[in-house]
Every structure is written in C-alpha cells, then in structure tokens.
C-alpha cells in the first residue's frame, strides 16, 4: 500500500533528469525528497503526479499504476501562482470542482480551511491584493481542499513568516495524524528533520542517499564539539591537533575525529582550571550530510 516508485527514469533532450530511482512511502508520514537545484526533484514529483510520462520504471499508488487521468493527489508547487485578478473564492471553487467536488462540498471545504489557515478575510478579495505569504496559504488550500490521500508539498515554508510557518506545521502534523501521505521537498533541512521519517537525496538525477532519517544519522560518527568557556582555549585545541570551525566570545565549534579527543580536551581544560559552561559532542546534522553527499 502507499506510494511506490521502482527504477524510474526520465530523459529530456540531451539530459538524464532522473536516473533509476526507487523509493516507497508505505504508511502515513512525511517523506523528504532532497537535492540541489536541478537534481531531478521536480521531474520526480511531476512523474509521480502523472503530469509527465516516465521513460521507464513503475509508479504505483495503493498497488495501482499512477496515470494522469486517475490521479487526484494534492500538490503545492514550488512555482507559486494564482489568477491575479480573480477572486480567491472563485479560484478555490474552480480547483475544487476540477478535483471532483460539487459546489456545496467545495463551499464547505473553503470555509473550513480558510478558518484553519486564518485567511477568512481574504476569501472575497482578488489574489493580487494578498501578501505573498497569504497567497501561499491560499495555494496550500488548493492542494488539500479535496482531502487527497497523497499530498506533495514543494518548499511549503519558503516565504512564510514564523507565525504562518507554525500554522502550516500544525496543519501538516494534523494531516499525517489523519492518515495522509505527504511528500515534502525542501531546502530547509531543519524542516525536513522536524517532519520526515524517511528521506531520499538526489544528485544529478541519481539517488545518493535514502532511508530512515534516524538510522542514517545514527550511522554517522560524532564530528563536532560545541564548547563554551570563560577564557580563550585556542591553544589547548591546537595542542590536540583539532581545527576550530567557528569561534565567537569564547564559544567554539570544533571539528573532531573521535570522541576520545573531545574528552581529552575537556580533561585538559579542567586541569587548567578553565570554567566550562557548555560541552556538547554532536553528530552531523542533515545539512552536513546533505553537503557531504551532494557538495562538489
């Protein structure tokens, strides 16, 4: 059950956009699709939505092949857009009807989601009069208004202020709790780490890393030490052959090769009667892993 991509490839004129990728989302959750610009994320999304045809491989939803005419997924594209001179209500009604709702169902859904996303006052207005963030929330409504089982969100938080980001995060959490499958593509690694259970990183159309995010991170050794002291400790760090990545006001981020060296540093600082306010050995963040995998 759920969404399954097997050995999917797509070539455009002279360019292999997606090269033999496979992944599966088999339970309600948020799946992270990551990659640099031009890595093949949008092509992958367009194939799984049935907008463009794949060259090879198989895409199934609940065991059935995904075909354009049968797809009724929700989609928030990265390229935001609304009809600028058309009233929001008319636009939402239009998309809801195209997604199979009748006027009464659509009207109820518009009112419900307008309240949840706090955009009720904008519904009678034309789109060009709304701020970018509010336009984005309206477009989010077009993605979920027909209560789809699978929702694809491409950069859902870009351009949103912290208040609206929080609103959207709560909606996503609720959607997963209600059994929805969500594919999220984002460059904001913090958001991916917050929501996603499984991830796939693409680079030049190829999968460079995929799996359970927690397991991926556990597979990495600690590589960073964060220390805060009441005096300069550069001398002690260099004595142990370690590099300082960042320092400011006696707060240091130090690259480490092993946890033993970090403990040795702490021991040395204590022996020198240097007051240590913070000492934290850290594993690589998703951002670090991403850069390691796709960085040139």
């Amino acid at each position: 059950m759920g969404l399954k991509l097997q050995n999917v490839s797509k070539k455009f004129v002279g360019k292999q956009a997606v090269d033999n990728i496979s992944f599966e989302v088999n339970k309600p959750s948020v799946f992270g699709l990551l990659g640099t610009n031009g890595a093949g994320k949008t092509t992958t999304i367009r194939m799984l939505l049935g907008i463009i045809k794949k060259d090879s491989g198989e895409i199934t939803w609940n065991g059935q092949k995904v075909e354009r005419k049968h797809v009724n997924f929700g989609y928030l594209p990265e390229e935001r857009g609304l009809y600028p001179k058309t009233k929001i209500y008319d636009q939402l009604m239009y998309f809801a009807k195209l997604k199979g709702m009748n006027a009464k169902q659509a009207d109820e859904a518009i009112k419900k989601w307008a309240k949840v996303l706090k955009v009720e006052e904008y519904i009678p207005m034309v789109a060009e009069k709304l701020s970018k963030g509010n336009q984005q929330k309206i477009q989010f409504m077009t993605a979920i208004i027909h209560d789809p089982e699978l929702i694809v969100l491409d950069e859902p938080f870009s351009g949103l202020d912290p208040v609206n980001t929080e609103i959207l995060k709560n909606v996503i959490i609720d959607l997963v709790a209600k059994g929805k499958y969500i594919i999220m593509s984002s460059h904001q690694m913090a958001s991916i780490e917050e929501f996603c259970t499984d991830i796939l990183i693409l680079n030049k159309g190829k999968t460079v890393l995929q799996g359970n995010l927690k397991e991926i991170k556990e597979g990495y050794k600690a590589n960073r030490l964060e220390v805060s002291t009441n005096s300069n400790i550069e001398k002690y760090v260099k004595e142990l052959g370690m590099d300082i990545e960042f320092s400011k006001d006696n707060e240091y981020t130090i690259k480490i090769e092993s946890e033993e060296k970090a403990h040795q540093l702490l021991k040395n600082l204590v022996n020198e009667n240097i007051e240590v306010n913070k000492f934290e050995i850290k594993k690589p963040t998703l951002n670090d892993i991403f850069i390691e995998k796709v960085g040139e």
Binding site: V13, P77, Y83, L98, A143
Partner: protein, 413 residues
C-alpha cells in the same frame, strides 16, 4: 466532460468579469451606435431636417447666351438651387458671395472668339472635386442644344426625334451573378476577420497569463492539458460569439430605427440576410475561430514572459493576414478562380465563404469542400497544438523556437 464544463464556465465568468472586456465592449457599442448615426448627426448640425442638401448655384450669363432658358436647370433635379443673373460679376464678386454664404458655388459663362464659349466653375475648395459635375455639364449642354434647335423652326415630331429616349441595361456573360453591395460585403468581411482574430488572440493571452502567473503547475495537476486548451478555447469563443452577436444586433437595430430606410436599402439589401446565411456565418466564425485560437494556444504555451507574446504570435498573425487579404482582394473580382480558391483554402475560407454566399455565387460543392477542408485543418492543428501545449506549458525561461517545438513534438511521441 465535467472538467471541460468547469473550465468553460470558469473561462466565461473570468473573461466577462474583466474590466478591460467590459470597457472595450461598451466603447465598441458606442462607436457602432455613433457611427451608424453619423448621417443623423450631420443633419442635426447642418439643421437640415429632410435630408435635402441642395447647393445654391449662381449662373452668371452676362452675355445672355442662353437667353433666359437656364431656369430649366431647376426642373432637372440636379441637386442645385439655381439662380441666374445677367450681371457682369467678376471672380472677386463671386468669391465675396461664397464667403458670405449667399451661394455655395457659381458658373460664369463667357463669350469667346470664333463662337467658342468658356464656362468657369467656381467652388470654395476644389480639394475633393475632380471637375465640374457631369450632370450639370450635360444639363447645360442640353439646354443650349435645345435652344439652338428651337431656332431652326422644326416641327414637334422632328424635335422629338432629335431627343431619343434610349433605355440602357447591363448583362454579363458569367453564369453566376453577383448580388449585393461589394463595398458593404468587404466591410463585413473586415468585421468578421477582426472578430475571429481578436477572440483567437485572447486564447494566447490567457494561456500566457496562466504561465506567467505560475498557476499552470496547479492547473495541470487538476485536469488534463487537452481539457484546459479545449475549455479555454470554447469558453473564450462563446464570449466572443455573444459579443459579436450583440455588436451585429445593436448595429442592425440602430440602423433599422435610426437610419433613413432609403439610405439603408441603398447600402445593404436586408432581404439577403437570411437565417440560413446567419447560421452559416456563425458556423464559419466558429470554425475560423477554432483554427486560429488553437494556433494561438500553441504559440501562447511557448512563452513565459508577457514581453515575448508579440513575437511568438507573429507567425500566426502573418498567416491570418495572408488569409484575410487573399479573401479581401479577390472579393473585388468574386467570379475569379482565386476567389473560389480563397473560399476553400482553410486560412481564408472563414473570411471569404460567408460573403460569396451573401453575393449568391457559392455553389453547394464549394461550400461542402470548404467546410470539410476547414474541419480537417482544425483537427490537424488541434492534434499538434495540444501535444506541444501539453509539453511546453511547464517550460519556463526563454521563448521556445520552432526547432525546440519540433524536438518536443518528436521527443514525446
């Protein structure tokens, strides 16, 4: 089908609500009503209530060459209010009278040498006049001839035999006889061309707007590209057809109620505008609109920026102009083979065939061939346009070239 209805409904509502559409419709209606009423407006300004605009003509016969017989010019209904004088008036005297508004124009008859006579026709401004009106010259010649004949002492019978009463008529060797006012038909052809052209152009504009506003991505995940193209084309076509019907209806009603019936019948034979002709004109409007709007859908989908739309649409505009002028210029010679070709050639047939029908020279075989060729052309354009549209609408960036389109067409087969 349900999606198609939804797209058509949204397109109609969206277009009809646009301020630019409402304002341009109102302005065009005002132009139509004012344009048809121009004769009445001129009358109102000139204060001429019965339309009789006889010019005041002064004939100066100082040598009394016509012996007072020029009075009969008034009975010839030449459109002049003629007054005769034997005073010896100079050019400057006439100029003063014209400037004062006493007369509009004048004729000075002067005796020359060797029994030759000189007639000077004096008007205020000869910019729009190529010479002395022929009717006036014929009238003066006739009066002078009669005067001289009467002096020969001929009997009444002899006199009548000198003034034959010929009955003139015109016939043609071509079997098909053209009826109707060609100039009016050509004018209607221009109206039909612009109606088709501008409605079709709206499709391109609408598609580019959807691309530039980035709504396309959401739209293509909601319904198929074929539904979008057809829904948009049909929706805009319905609005355009209603708009054209309103324009024509208002024009006919205004002409019927505001124009002098004699003037109206002289330019447009209303008996030629039959329901059959009306239906066929609407059919040609629809077919012509579909052919050009689908071409515009194709070009509209290849651009992402509003500034590129003009250059992308240029090839279609050129095709439309070729089609129109092929029809327009051959209409001056409607029995020519080229006009018959223009009535069947799909680019020009929508602008040509309705008027061949109006002129009564379209044969049933030509009509069937014209419609069949046009429908086949539309189906071919639709196939190519929808295919390229489906793949081009998600391309953002620079305007696509014809080479790119061919590549895409081949690549997606």
């Amino acid at each position: 089908m349900r999606d198609l209805k939804t797209v058509i409904g949204f397109t109609i509502k969206d277009m009809a609500k646009r301020k630019s559409f409402i304002v341009s419709t109102i302005i065009l209606l005002a132009i139509i009503i004012i344009g048809i009423n121009i004769p009445n407006i001129i009358k109102a300004f000139t204060g001429d209530s019965d339309g009789d605009t006889n010019n005041k003509l002064l004939v100066v016969d100082s040598s009394n060459l016509f012996e007072g017989s020029l009075d009969s010019l008034n009975s010839m209904n030449l459109g002049y209010e003629v007054s005769i004088t034997n005073e010896n008036l100079s050019f400057d005297d006439i100029k003063t009278k014209i400037d004062n508004g006493e007369i509009d124009e004048a004729i000075i008859i002067e005796n020359g040498e060797n029994n030759s006579h000189k007639i000077r026709y004096i008007v205020k401004d000869m910019a729009m006049i190529s010479g002395m009106p022929e009717e006036l010259m014929a009238g003066i010649n006739s009066i002078y001839t009669n005067l001289q004949i009467s002096k020969l002492g001929l009997t009444q019978e002899e006199l009548q035999s000198l003034n034959p009463n010929f009955e003139y008529s015109i016939e043609q060797t071509e079997e098909q006889q053209v009826s109707g006012n060609i100039l009016v038909i050509m004018l209607l052809s221009i109206v039909l061309f612009y109606a088709i052209y501008f409605c079709a152009y709206q499709v391109s504009s609408s598609i580019t707007t959807e691309k530039t506003s980035k709504i396309m991505e959401t739209l293509v995940t909601s319904t198929s590209p074929t539904t979008i193209v057809l829904g948009k084309t049909i929706g805009i076509g319905i609005v355009g057809l209603i708009q054209v019907c309103v324009f024509v209806g208002v024009a006919l009603i205004t002409a019927k109620f505001c124009l002098d019936p004699e003037l109206l019948s002289s330019v447009l034979d209303m008996s030629k505008i039959t329901p059959y002709l009306g239906i066929m004109t609407i059919i040609y409007f629809i077919l012509g609109y579909f052919a050009y709007s689908l071409l515009y859908a194709l070009t509209g989908s290849t651009v992402s920026k509003p500034e590129d739309i003009q250059s992308a649409n240029a090839p279609v505009a050129i095709l439309a102009l070729i089609g129109f002028y092929l029809s327009y210029f051959t209409m001056m010679n409607p029995n020519s083979d080229l006009n018959a070709f223009a009535a069947i050639f799909p680019l020009s047939s929508p602008f040509c065939m309705p008027f061949r029908m109006m002129m009564g020279i379209a044969t049933p075989a030509q009509l069937v061939a014209s419609i069949v060729v046009l429908i086949i052309t539309i189906l071919i354009i639709a196939k190519v346009a929808i295919k390229i549209y489906s793949n081009a609408i998600l391309n953002y960036g620079t305007k696509m070239t014809i080479k790119d389109m061919v590549k895409i067409y081949r690549d997606k087969k």
